[in-house]
Amino acid sequence: MQRLNLHSGLISWIAVGIILLIMLLIGNGLVVYLIGIWAIYLVLASSLNLLLGYTGLFNMATSIFFGIGAYTSAILASRFGISFWACWLAAGIMAAAVGAIVGYPALRTRGLYFAIVTFAFLWIGTQVMTNWRSITGGPNGIGAIPNPNAIGTITFDSTRAKAALIVVFALVIFYIINRIARSRVGRVFIAIRENEVLAQSGGFNVAVYKLASFVLASFFAGIAGSLYAHFITFISPDSFGLDLSLFILAMVAIGGAGTVWGPAVGAMIFTFLPEYIRGPLDPYRFIIFSLVFLLLMIFIPKGIVGSISEIWAKRRRAKVMKMTT
């Protein structure tokens, strides 16, 4: 059984890789751009999934950690000429450090109060980005961020090459997050989500595990920020506000919180759907989009992947029942 799961997992990974490769090679400019954006959303959504789906932490500040990463990377690269290959790591570490400083006091609160505290941090963060002009460039942001530096003869000066680079980054991070989620640590995270007191009495230091998941998620969100800054080459506070945090929450929820492929599906819907509701419906596309979002949440609260795997589990159970009787 274990073997079978491993195989089907590997097959879906390979399938996703091949589809992305083909789309990157033959897609037009818009498709390539959207794949790059999707890959960045994938990192953000799976880092939030680690919190929301596994540890059960309702983090509303994902977009700020994303922003911290983006600003760190943009400032280091454009003002100090530091290579992208150092910047992305610095961006992750910076976001993780802020995550530790914010998470330590914030994690004293639970449930919805944690959501409100992280919202407070989100708000203060956007105000700082807008008003601390000497560092962040204020509302005008930072432009002309250099492309990622070449490795040997491989250059990253075209959107296509950058999108491919981001997809590689995103898939590696996606894989790492899912490995963490399936490891012993991941099972402790789930135990915390299901029953914090029980996890604590099981001998796990809940506070440390919660902080660890928060810092990890911030680290990955920071790297996503760096990728974004070098992909778009322009950043401003508008890109890191409440809307983005809500969209990432929605991606995780629509895809299915606590599932492996949920964030990928959710990010896919959020990247491509608004772009393709065009034509006469164009002025209403955000209304249509939020209506679809609301209806999905009412009718399938467990998300797309969550509901599908539930149906599969039911069918498998039915089959086993049939075989035993």
């Binding site: 309702f58 609160t109 109060y113």
Partner: protein, 286 residues
């Protein structure tokens, strides 16, 4: 220092608007346990309905506010029946995210229909002030404060003196026990939502008298409402104290520290208090 009394007055008027919004949220979140993140969008609906009725239909302001109350009550009813009722047995997280979806839907719809330009609700009181020494108090602020106090007292009387209010208090204490002794939970959900939304609507309409209104104005009041509830710890008196603390500190902070960081003040106070007392200032439910 001459401006302190002036800012105190402005802060008190803003505080009474905040309290109204927060009390509605407190009913819905505190009594029904629903994380209603679309509460602030009802506020937006209230503000825009008052604006349309006064500026476009040319109704009398008082009449417009009364019609706005009815509209917002119906919006509350619709939200409860169509969104929250189907999700009653779902986990808190799904409900919270559905409420965000609802908030986005209302925000985008009002932006598309009404445009992004900020608007003011026109009043016959505009520009009229009472001057006491160096302090100028506008009639609008007096009206807002007065209306706020009346609404708070009415809510208090409803919760403390009526049978339905008693049922609400019973449900807050013990949901199952309340159901066992014959409290109609479904009806109570509807009533609580309608009253809570009415409070949000009146709060939005009053806000439109003082400051410009715009489609995305709703998110901030929801979050400030949660801050006030956290400060006050789920009781009416606590919310009143919390609301005035927030209104006054924002208004004074904007004058003395920096107006750019005005909206952050609420959250800095919240973080400071939660760090010292994770259960809130009063730390007791209704």
């Amino acid at each position: 220092m001459a401006q302190v009394p002036q800012q105190l007055i402005n802060g008190i008027a803003m505080g009474s608007v905040y309290i109204l919004g927060a009390l509605g949220l407190m009913l819905i979140f505190g009594v029904l346990d629903i994380p209603h993140f679309a509460h602030g969008q009802v506020y937006t609906i209230g503000a825009f309905s008052a604006y349309l009725l006064v500026a476009q239909v040319h109704l009398n302001l008082i009449l417009a506010i009364i019609i706005t109350l009815l509209i917002c009550g119906l919006v509350g009813l619709a939200m409860e029946r169509l969104v929250y009722n189907p999700l009653r047995s779902s986990p808190l997280l799904s409900v919270a995210i559905a409420s965000f979806a609802l908030a986005l839907l209302i925000q985008y719809s009002s932006g598309t229909i009404l445009g992004q330009m900020p608007k003011m609700v026109p009043t016959f009181l505009a520009g009229k002030v009472i001057e006491i020494g160096a302090v100028a108090i506008s009639y609008t602020r007096i009206l807002v404060f007065g209306a706020g106090i009346v609404a708070i007292v009415l809510l208090w009387l409803f919760i403390m003196r009526t049978k339905l209010g008693k049922a609400i208090r019973a449900m807050t204490q013990n949901r199952n026990a309340a159901e066992l002794i014959g409290v109609d939970v479904s009806q109570l959900h509807i009533v609580t939502f309608m009253i809570g939304s009415t409070m949000a609507g009146v709060s939005g309409a009053l806000l439109g008298l003082m400051i410009p209104i715009y489609p995305s104005m709703g998110m901030m009041p929801t979050m400030k409402g949660f801050v006030i509830i956290t400060l006050g710890g789920m009781n009416i008196l606590g919310a009143v104290v919390g609301g005035f603390i927030l209104g006054i500190s924002e208004s004074i902070g904007a004058g003395f520290i920096s107006s750019a960081y005005k909206d952050s003040i609420a959250f800095i106070i919240l973080l400071a208090i939660l760090m010292i007392r994770p259960t809130g200032l009063f730390g007791k439910r209704i």
